[in-house]
Symmetry: C2
Subunit: 225 residues, 2 copies
Amino acid sequence: MTIEKTPTAKEKLNLPTVHERIYQNLKERILFGGFLPGKAVTLRGLAEDLDVSAMPVREAVRRLIAEKALEMHGNRRVSVPLMTQESYEELSLSRRLLEPELAVRAMKNLEKRDIEELARIDGLIDNALLNGDVEGYMRGNHQFHFFIYSAAKSPIMLGLVESLWLQFGPFMRLVYGRYGTANLEDQHRQAIDALRARDEQALRAAILADIGQGMHFMSDAVHTR
Amino acid sequence: MTIEKTPTAKEKLNLPTVHERIYQNLKERILFGGFLPGKAVTLRGLAEDLDVSAMPVREAVRRLIAEKALEMHGNRRVSVPLMTQESYEELSLSRRLLEPELAVRAMKNLEKRDIEELARIDGLIDNALLNGDVEGYMRGNHQFHFFIYSAAKSPIMLGLVESLWLQFGPFMRLVYGRYGTANLEDQHRQAIDALRARDEQALRAAILADIGQGMHFMSDAVHTR
DNA sequence: CGCAATATTTTGTGATCAAAAAATCTTTAA
DNA sequence: TTAAAGATTTTTTGATCACAAAATATTGCG
């Protein structure tokens, strides 16, 4: 009988390194509202919160800086970036350039049951909207888009788009927290229909429309200050 | 009389931190041919080469991994990524989506004397091509493009494009090193003309043509293996 | 010779600490 | 009271080390 290597706790949870775990933790908070724009971030502070040494926090934070999810100032302080009109405009344009393309590339890989899964996620989003559950909406919306984009099997473009989402996450949370989710309507159905029909043009239009609504909502906030 | 703080060597050279200096060093090597695809990179090895401790090397390497300039494998080893047909295709598409847009955004900020500077850089490129100076060509080409793109004052899009260039740099160097630069023709003049005429459509076409030639040259190499 | 088992070396990871830089608080003088 | 000067604290940065995991080299056996 061969001796089975007993899986360590690490392996069970699929969390190979500490800095990776910290990275995922921080990324979630940035994407779904744990960190608001302007929030100061210190290595020591995070290390104490998360009960680890400064080293893995350092690696996770530097990675997020490289991904533009955090910002390092001239004085070496780190914070969650504020949204400016210029940044907002660039993010919006970049999304419109990349995301429809990614969706089209995904289309040929999305089977019937994948589209059912998307419909299920869309149901969760509707629910969150009804309940005014901002975090739930943001999680669902992210899941919906990246379920599609991941199917494109285009890791380079996916990485570009992930960086964009990290950059507007905190601001989006701020806006929805202030104005609520009541005015949001679910724009995902057209995308689902387009995927079912395998209609490339309709899919592009649907993704553009969805980006348009989300970003337009933020556009108001960035202009009125 | 006030006591002037004597500027340290660091400040003179504008190299605030060690890891920043290492980062710039590695980035140059990746962009212009110091590192070829597949090359293994170790923290201790680089630290010894550069005569610093492992720590700042670690930060620089992790940053480059986040920017997709280096690749970390499942076994935690780091290397310069190999080019695959899929990667090549994604890089090409991403460039075609982003760079013309960036050039158009730059156009309104490029004055007459900026365009003269571009013509000067283009002259250097011609020279390098004549002399079969691969590194000189790559440096000039990079300088030409990023002189334009930087004028767009669009840091987010610029960051996306920088990541793309880091990803094809090593492979481009490999290809040009193998096939020479004789077959390359200078495609920059149309871009300069379009900028002079402030013709947006012509500028888009010129940037697309330049991307097309550079990437097509690599395309041959990635298919024939 | 071929191949599996074992030993050695190499390498990334995480903790700890000293030094430098920046921010904050305190003091002092007009 | 206010603002500049000085002292204190906080924070990042870089070096060093122990440890674990992976790769490589060595040994031993058929």
